[in-house]
Amino acid sequence: MQLNFPIFPEQASSMAGQVDALYLFLVLITTFFSLLIAILILYFAIKYRRTPGRQAEQIHGSTLLEIVWTVIPLGISMVIFVWGAVIYYHMERPPANPLEIYGVGKQWMWKFQHPGGQREINTLHVPTGRDVKVTLISQDVIHSFFVPAFRVKQDVLPNRYVFTWFKATQPGTYHLFCSQYCGTKHSGMVGQVVVMTPEDYASWLASGKAEGSLASLGEKAFQQYGCTTCHRPDSGARGPNLEGVYGRPIRLTDNRVVLADDNYIRESILEPNAKVVSGFQSIMPTFRGVVSEDEIIAITEYIKHLSPQQANPLNNRSTPTEIRDSEVPNIQQQNKQQNQQQPAQQTPQGKRPANPSGKKP
């Protein structure tokens, strides 16, 4: 048993100090009011203890006091609310131009993919001094990405990308926990975040055995699954041209407008008919059960690189309503396509899932 135990986790990110400051403020408030109440109760209990002949003094109440002890806690609460909200808002805004890392959670491990194609399991290497955005998805149940030293936590959902970001400040090795109960080995779904100086990080990247960048892995998968058959830049293509699509608003057949972000691309691969681009037919087969989450991430990365000017995606949580109609390009409509094709011909038949809705493994 280690007998000298700390009562604070290490501060290893730009956010840690801010969170700790609010924590200490709350510890102060809690200590003050708890002591106030405890001392009053004990003082009254002793001072006004029942002695023979003692009569209580009847007091019905005081509206003034009631107002005082409603307004003061309300005021303090609002300070805490605003303080907490400011930190949170900062945490939830994606940084501009971050180092983008992808993470996949599954029972019971974490897999990470770096843009250079390096892959890691249960360990994540990051440099100091750089905003790191981790885009996360789960292959099965809900997990949660928790790095106490960074004061960062994000539930990792199946079927939807979420992200978290941090800027590490202290080189070192820190705990990575899954903090959402996920079954038998929930407490074994742990790992470490290794924070390195930028120089060490660069040499770590160089030493890693990558089979090529994430985008090039994506390109391989893109060809392997026959995506190129339809998604081509020429005018005879049966699917929308994907060049320059990433991060842009897209008009759908039902005239809705959505943002072509990671979630939209993933949905279009797994559920192609959910949001069909205006001017195209619902002919694409689902790739659910065929393509893995890792491959979807790589393909998305490839599609990003197809963009002529690599647009920065809006916040993952942006809703289509935030996009004005005038911003929607009309290119897709020009590629009007009438002739229908049997989709099965494009996909290797053997690889199609028997049950497209997917069953648990």
């Binding site: 109440i37 006004y48 007091i59 909200a85």
Partner: protein, 545 residues
């Protein structure tokens, strides 16, 4: 009081609800709210002990960091069954179904609850629910956590999730029936002169809790039925693989389970509002503020559920709104604490056992409530969500608050229920042991949580061991504190001093009838002419001291 008893030694009434009828049938088919309360008393004590055994095993396991005592699956079943037993089969029914059942009709001055048969049915439903949950337990256990999060529970676990869910659903109906009975009784059956402004605060708080029971409980039933449909028939509701949405489950679950926190704590607050004026010999400070704060808590409690979901992938804007509203629900609780404290000011305070529990409640609930502010603060919650900080916070509210209030209330009304006094010295000792054991168990968990130890961990990094050992040591002290009352309560049934109608010289209709009360509570329906807690007005009568 010893002087008072020296003047007229009270005797047990000849006939009362306990000896009015004998035999197992007279209990199992009773429609007397007081007997049903006693049925509940035995059953919830049973589930509390089972839940307590699970808690002890959890704390024993966590003495070492590497998970040496139990298998991971076994550990997961232990915390699941601990949570389910304590939340659904102990905390929710504890004060309302035992003390509320016994006292609400007497306090409003009537013979029974509005629907005595439904009251009995509610106990049978509770037992049926308990039977399902026990069956799930003995046939292999369930490892879903008491929160049943989908899609884990609907698509991945191999244990008896549906059986346990059915148990919880059935038990839910029992609390709906109790709530319905209380609401109708309070509205329709008050004695002449018992205006709303004269209702004891215990009745007000049970009334507020009843509103939540009937409005909230159907939602948990629906949620668990949907979960069972998905699990049993692969109807996609929550699991994305079947086209569902897992965050929807959390919205539905917490829409009930946050207000359920107030089903648990409000009746406990009602107990405190009775004990503090009695042992301070004072009117409660700010009666109407205490009464309306209960209703305010019940109403606000319904609009804060997503504060359990700040890291679950909800939008920034809804997180902001739910954080703000969560602070709104904190205010009425603060108002209550200040009013109880002010009630003691210039009182004539007797530190008997119920008062000790009440003082412990005020202190521990204050800490429990204030640490809730940490969790409602968005930027801070991100770090402490799903860690031991949360565990410590809700045990301060649920054990430090609710269980303490329940024990205080049980001691306070024990002479009314049984006609005999419990022994004061061992009771004070038990209260002290409970207080020390409780703080030793749960205070270290705040620090553990901020250090980052996630909840529901079967094994943990070695630097967390010291705090875990402290917590486990505290749990063994706490266990002694909880077991002692079982012994001396049982002892008192035979050897306890005869209490008389009103051993505490308290106000309130329940103290005007005999102890134990007759089957129909009063020989004639009382006419109420005084405010509750009219402690100063009959000062000359209490001069016997």
């Amino acid at each position: 009081m010893s002087t008072a008893t020296a003047i007229v030694k009270p005797v047990m009434p000849e006939r009362h609800f306990l000896n009015d009828n004998y035999g197992i049938r007279s209990w199992l088919l009773t429609k007397d709210h007081k007997r049903i309360a006693i049925l509940y008393l035995f059953s919830i004590t049973f589930f509390f002990l089972i839940g307590g055994v699970f808690a002890s095993l959890i704390r024993l396991h966590l003495l070492t960091p590497n998970g040496e005592l139990f298998e991971a699956d076994t550990y997961n079943k232990l915390f699941t069954m601990h949570g389910v037993n304590m939340v659904f089969f102990f905390l929710i029914p504890s004060v309302p179904a035992v003390l509320g059942n016994f006292l609400v009709p007497i306090m409003v001055g009537t013979k029974d609850l509005a629907f005595p048969k439904i009251n009995l049915l509610s106990w049978y439903l509770y037992m049926a629910g308990g039977t399902f949950s026990m069956a799930a337990m003995v046939s292999g256990g369930v490892d879903s956590g008491w929160t049943f999060y989908a899609p884990l529970s609907s698509g991945y676990l191999k244990t008896h999730v549906i059986m346990l869910a059915v148990g919880v659903i059935i038990a839910g109906f029992s609390s709906i029936f109790t709530g319905l009975n209380f609401i109708v009784t309070v509205h329709r059956m008050r004695a002449p002169g018992m205006t709303w402004g004269r209702l004891p605060l215990f009745v007000w708080s049970n009334y507020a809790a009843s509103l939540i029971m009937i409005l909230g409980t159907p939602v948990i039933a629906i949620t668990l039925i949907l979960l069972a449909l998905e699990r049993g028939f692969h109807i996609g509701i929550f699991d994305p693989k079947l086209g569902g949405d897992p965050v929807l489950f959390q919205h539905m679950f917490w829409f009930y389970s946050h207000p359920a926190v107030y089903i648990m704590i409000l009746p406990g607050m009602g107990v405190i509002s009775e004990i503090v004026p009695c042992f301070s010999r004072k009117r409660v400070f700010g009666y109407s503020f205490v009464a309306f704060s209960s209703v305010a808590i019940a109403v606000f409690g319904f609009v804060v559920w997503a504060h359990h979901m700040f890291v679950a992938g909800i939008s920034v804007y809804s997180a902001l709104v739910f954080s703000l509203l969560s602070y709104a629900v904190a205010i009425p609780s603060a108002v209550k604490v200040f009013n109880w404290t002010a009630t003691m000011y210039k009182g004539s305070i007797e530190m008997s056992t119920p008062m000790l529990y009440a003082m412990a409640f005020i202190g521990l609930f204050t800490i429990g409530g204030l640490t809730g502010l940490f969790l409602a603060a968005l930027g801070l919650d991100i770090h402490i969500h799903d860690t031991y900080f949360v565990i410590a916070h809700f045990h301060y509210v649920m054990v430090g608050g609710m269980v303490t209030a329940y024990l205080g209330g049980l001691h306070f009304w024990w002479p009314k229920i049984t006609g005999r006094m419990y022994p004061e010295a061992p009771a004070k000792l038990a209260a002290l042991i409970t207080f020390i054991g409780f703080n030793l168990t749960f205070f270290p968990q705040f620090i553990l949580g901020y250090m980052g130890m996630p909840r529901r961990y079967w094994a943990y990094p070695p630097e967390f061991q010291v705090l875990n050992v402290l917590s486990s040591a505290g749990a063994s002290v706490l266990a002694v504190g909880f077991l002692l009352p079982l012994l001396y309560f049982a002892w008192s049934l035979k050897y306890g001093e005869v209490a008389g109608n009103n051993p505490w010289q308290a106000t309130g209709l329940e103290w005007e009838t005999s102890s134990p009360p007759p089957t129909h509570n009063f020989h004639e329906i009382p006419i109420v002419t005084k405010d509750p807690y009219a402690y100063g007005e009959d000062a000359e009568v209490t001069v016997v001291h």
